[in-house]
């Protein structure tokens, strides 16, 4: 059996939660977009910039819901890495906790650089 039971279990749970919730949000956004789209306001092909996501959500823009779903989907592997870091640390497997932390750190750094 797998020696890292906790890591294996949590990685699967987080990936599943991330996948299903993002899938649900994207579907919701899609239905909303279909219901609200007219010839004069077709569904946008472009994402809403992350800085404008909150305002667009408040304004009731279905594109914002779609963007949020996609963002959640892309964040799932990163959150899985963070969870692996915690489970490895809880098992006192410091080497793998460190490796997971470095991977998650690089992912986070790329996001920060993109935001600058």
């Amino acid at each position: 059996m797998h020696i890292d039971r906790a890591t294996y279990r949590w990685a699967g749970i987080i990936l599943r939660v991330g996948m299903y919730s993002s899938f649900g949000i994207m579907l919701l956004g899609l239905v909303w977009a279909i219901a609200g789209s007219t010839a004069s306001t077709p569904l946008s092909y472009r994402t809403i910039p992350i800085s404008g996501l909150y305002d667009a959500m408040l304004a009731g823009n279905p594109d914002a819901v779609l963007s949020l779903g996609l963002l959640l989907l892309l964040a799932s592997p990163g959150v899985t890495l963070l969870a692996s870091m915690v489970t490895f640390a809880a098992a006192r497997n410091w080497r793998f906790a460190g490796l997971a932390a470095i991977s998650a750190g690089i992912l986070l750094l790329s996001v920060v650089i993109a935001l600058l």
Partner: protein, 276 residues
């Protein structure tokens, strides 16, 4: 054509890409990018960014399927994923030096030769039990033995040089940046042929590695606004479903057929490079 019909076509395309990509342990960028570039005439930047999002969706969904089957080697996956990241960064810096026509031709021909070898290579005695004896000399660098029992009770035992595996992953990251693909189609055959990974473990672990490495690139692209959201979501929805189909198919196919599917993918990439 009607907007929603186009979206439906993207969903169908995503299903095919997800099923095939997951089956062979690749993200499917090797199919998506050429279609978006050559058929739909999208700008390169948007084609790669949108493709990366779909690859992430496919890899994450495929990882769930393989996770349920108990075939993902997480320890190896995290280490190899980490090694691909610096390779990808250096590759992105070197892309202007190495992406000439001569490089494309040489690498394209090499991929076609590799795919021919994979298609006709002699079959191993056992797909599940590799040699776990540590070789003498540099071949045994950081020798690691893994024993994984999947959800069906099938045991996979194999040994590999983790040191050379990290070097390989660095190279995969480098090449994926040069070629604009996820890298699964290079990682999987190398893991199977050079590192004696059982095909099912190689494809599952490659998918996990891909989920992490593609998430890095696609999140950056999404933030920068290069992703075409409607097609990306339509293809991602298709790929999420298709990945589950690919994972289920993988249970029914032997490692030999998975490798043949991989060989076909290599031909596609090789010919794309050769034909320009």
């Amino acid at each position: 054509m009607d907007f929603w019909l186009i979206m439906l076509a993207f969903v169908a395309f995503g299903i095919v890409v997800g099923a095939y990509g997951t089956l062979i342990g690749a993200g499917g960028g090797f199919i998506i990018v050429p279609v978006l570039l050559l058929v739909l005439k999208w700008p390169h930047e948007q084609a790669v960014a949108t493709s990366l999002c779909v690859v992430t969706a496919n890899a994450a969904s495929g990882t769930i399927s393989y996770w349920r089957q108990g075939r993902v080697d997480f320890r190896t996956g995290i280490q190899f994923a980490l090694a691909t990241l610096p390779g990808a960064i250096i590759g992105s810096l070197a892309v202007s030096l190495l992406s000439g026509r001569v490089f494309d031709l040489i690498f394209g021909v090499l991929l076609v030769i590799l795919s021919t070898y994979l298609m006709f290579r002699p079959e191993r005695r056992s797909n599940n039990q590799g040699d776990t004896t540590k070789p003498e000399g540099p071949k045994g660098w950081l020798w690691t033995v893994r024993s994984i029992t999947d959800a069906r009770g099938e045991n996979y035992k194999f040994g590999f040089s983790k040191g050379w595996g990290l070097v390989l992953s660095f190279g995969v990251g480098f090449m994926s940046s040069i070629l604009g693909i996820g890298g699964g189609i290079i990682h999987v055959p190398a893991l199977i042929n050079l590192f004696s990974f059982p095909a099912h473990i190689a494809t599952a672990t490659s998918h996990f590695i891909l989920a992490i490495s593609a998430a890095t690139g696609s999140t950056t692209q999404l933030i920068q606004g290069n992703v075409q959201i409607a097609p990306a979501i339509a293809m991602a929805i298709g790929a999420i479903g298709g990945a589950q189909v690919g994972g289920a198919l993988s249970r029914r196919l032997t490692g030999r057929w998975i490798v043949r599917g991989l060989a076909l993918a290599l031909v596609i990439v090789g010919l794309r490079l050769v034909l320009g």
